[in-house]
Symmetry: C2
Subunit: 273 residues, 2 copies
């Protein structure tokens, strides 16, 4: 089982209770040395203060959430999306994030053109890629669970994310989140195919009685995902980064004392990851 | 757009209001000549009366729902599941169903062994296949949306269903339900690969604001699925059976007057399928 030096926590896990300062201080207080930062929290804190806090606490920044979201319907939304992604790249570089997590976005309002939406993801990433390369920020395409295909993640499989990497080349990789990919019969082959393009590994769990399509993720060990098996697959593919806990849980973990949540993350990282 | 002679309705669509007799009479009253029957409704009606009613109304029986569900944990549950599937084959033969729809089943309670669950589906189908062949009832493996992987459908992609067909041989095919497969980047290729093994084609829609993992399907045209595109793919692959409307909708369609539901199915089959 992995040691605490391999553990990072995605700030979404303590989203409703802790600011970025509180999260950095809180995770560090428990001995956790990796964090994935969210942009709304970063804006609230200010980049220069965040840089200082992250450095003072010896934090590895596993990623910045999030870029992408290319599902806008018209030209002005598209321009705004690209500009926002360019700002995200600057922010990721400023805080030393190892990657910028990219969500594809869903279908434009009123559209049924899924192949078109996917083509736009490729176009959008291609447009920001020179800036990302120049800034030294690798982009991690995160395939999302197919149940969010219409609303936020038209890149529904690791296979499709790998296809995009092949198409886009240097500077683009993938984020593997067990919640999003555990059901995929092609998972083993596609993790191997991703190889050293795996830029992030997210852990959490699928609860057998899941009720919500987004905000009902489980703590590692509370669900049905064989997480150690998937961790071994990503490690065998060449990933040697941190295991990042990311839990969206409106009715459970977000309501708890964040210190308790972090303690449980540490324990479950040892026993169930 | 397809004519009414291509329209079948899965009894689940009017589940909460109509018995099998009422469904047969109701669909026929509107000029619909295809029905997919559910076993609980068939049991309530009795097989011999059902046979008479179906024949009197000139109904094509597109399928019987459902066999499979190989997710039991222990030997006695396994035996009971096999026996139940053998009864389902007899019933399907008795009512002249063109296929028996097979759901894979989910993970056994407490299990995280997804590859094992999938292996059990292959074993289960292999065990009942001689009886199905003898009865002349083709088995249609229906891949379910990945969000139901843990609870009812560990066969999450058409690709995996096709793999099972390859493994099991003669007498096994697939059911393609747009709700379950629309998000799949491999869909076009896997429909072509399925070819004449496509035994059923189910239509409905994915609502952009879907709230429930099972009982919140939309009427064709109300969601984001490009149904005509998928229909053309299955037809190009060789399918020339009926288009079967199957809508699980606890909060909307199941609450409406079934005559209204059937009328809307007919209209939407013309305009949105």
């Amino acid at each position: 089982m992995p040691g605490i030096e391999k553990l990072a926590i995605n700030q979404a896990t303590t989203r409703d209770r802790w600011t970025l300062r509180e999260a950095i201080e809180g995770y560090a207080r428990h001995g956790v040395r990796g964090i994935c930062v969210w942009r709304d929290k970063l804006a609230e804190c200010g980049v220069s203060q965040a840089v200082r806090l992250l450095s003072d606490h010896g934090m590895t920044v596993t990623g910045l959430c999030r870029g992408g979201m290319f599902g806008g319907a018209d030209a002005s939304t598209w321009r705004a999306t690209i500009d926002d992604n360019l700002r995200a790249i600057e922010e990721a570089a400023a805080i030393g994030a190892r990657t910028l997590i990219m969500l594809a976005g869903g279908l434009p309002k009123g559209s049924k053109d899924l192949p078109g939406a996917r083509a736009r993801v490729a176009e959008g990433i291609a447009e920001i890629l020179p800036a990302a390369r120049a800034a030294g920020v690798p982009l991690a395409i995160e395939p999302l669970h197919p149940m969010t295909c219409a609303s936020r993640g038209c890149v529904t499989t690791l296979g499709l994310a790998n296809d995009l990497c092949d198409e886009l080349g240097e500077g683009v990789g993938v984020a593997v989140d067990v919640y999003h990919v555990w059901w995929d019969p092609a998972l083993d082959a596609e993790i191997a195919r991703a190889g050293d393009r795996i830029l992030a590994f997210h852990v959490n769990d699928w609860l057998p009685d899941t009720r919500d399509l987004v905000f009902d993720r489980g703590m590692m060990g509370d669900g049905v995902v064989d997480i150690p098996r998937i961790r071994r697959l990503v490690e065998r593919a060449g990933y040697d980064g941190m295991n990042e806990v990311e839990i969206f849980s409106a009715e459970n973990w977000w309501k708890r004392d964040p210190d308790e949540v972090v303690a449980v993350c540490i324990e479950r990282h040892e026993t169930a990851v």
